[in-house]
């Protein structure tokens, strides 16, 4: 199963965009103009397609900035976020931290990472 292709197909149908516009590095909000209602639809579509539990807050990094705000000054921001988003690599979290000022950071590859992580968790359970 190619998770990227499956997600791309869902996004094409949901957001009415050309599949050529979507790569793993595409931003959902910045590039595809996804809105909150689209995220609700996307969440159930992913649940339906991959049969995994979907936590909207985690998947869409909804509380990311709140978590960052609450990291004590004494703690490294990278270390503070790693446990919050276990499906994201340290490298990706570092990228996100460097990208925060540019706008919403969620990318297609973050959805892929979440699905892979949930699928592994489900198999392990």
């Amino acid at each position: 199963m190619d998770i990227f292709k499956e997600i791309r197909q869902i996004l094409v149908e949901l957001l009415d965009v050309d599949e050529k516009e979507i790569t793993t590095d595409t931003y959902l909000v910045r590039d595809l103009c996804a809105e909150s209602i689209d995220f609700l639809e996307l969440a159930v579509s992913l649940n339906n397609r991959f049969a995994i539990e979907i936590n909207d807050d985690d998947l869409f990094l909804r509380n990311l900035r709140l978590y960052i705000q609450n990291i004590p000054d004494s703690q490294d921001r990278l270390a503070g976020l790693t446990g919050r988003f276990p499906f994201l690599s340290t490298k990706r979290i570092a990228e996100i931290l460097a990208d925060l000022d540019q706008g919403p950071v969620l990318k297609v590859k973050d959805l892929i990472a979440y699905i892979e992580w949930q699928t592994k968790s489900k198999k392990a359970a």
């Binding site: 209602i37 159930v44 807050d57």
Partner: protein
């Protein structure tokens, strides 16, 4: 703005006859009723099940009707069985396949998407939570549950 539905009240479910983790069944008797009110009945049924699934702790609303089929010119007369089956879910959104049947024949059939939101200034918890819990209880007569 006043919205007039043409109904004495806007609860378009007479009785919930079965509720389980992923399914809900209800009845509604219509008299010369346009089909859109049947669709509204199905939406109310799905939203009721979403509230039940959340122990009434969040407000539920119809987000999208993804597809809905019925015969053009259909008018609803008599007692209909309304069935809902949850087909997908996330933390805040729920997909349902909802059908209205008369004499075991499907007359309305659709895929509906619902969302939940936290109670807030617009959706007052003190008023709405107890209202829907009471309504749900009232609609359960001789109900079957797991």
């Amino acid at each position: 703005m006043t919205v007039c539905s043409g109904q004495d009240r806007f609860i378009l479910l007479d009785r919930i006859t079965q509720v389980r983790e992923n399914t809900i069944v209800a009845e509604k008797t219509f008299a010369e009723t346009p089909v859109w009110l049947g669709i509204e009945s199905l939406a109310q049924l799905g939203a009721m099940h979403v509230r039940y699934a959340n122990q009434f702790s969040r407000h539920a609303m119809l987000l999208i009707i993804e597809e809905c089929g019925f015969n053009p010119g259909l008018e609803l007369n008599g007692t209909y069985q309304l069935k809902g089956k949850r087909t997908s879910r996330s933390q805040y959104a729920y997909g349902y396949h909802l059908t209205a049947l008369k004499n075991d024949q499907i007359v309305i059939n659709g895929q509906f998407l619902f969302a939940t939101i936290a109670y807030d200034d617009r959706f007052d918890q003190n008023r709405l939570q107890s209202h829907y819990e009471r309504l749900f209880t009232c609609l359960q007569s001789d109900i079957m549950t797991d």
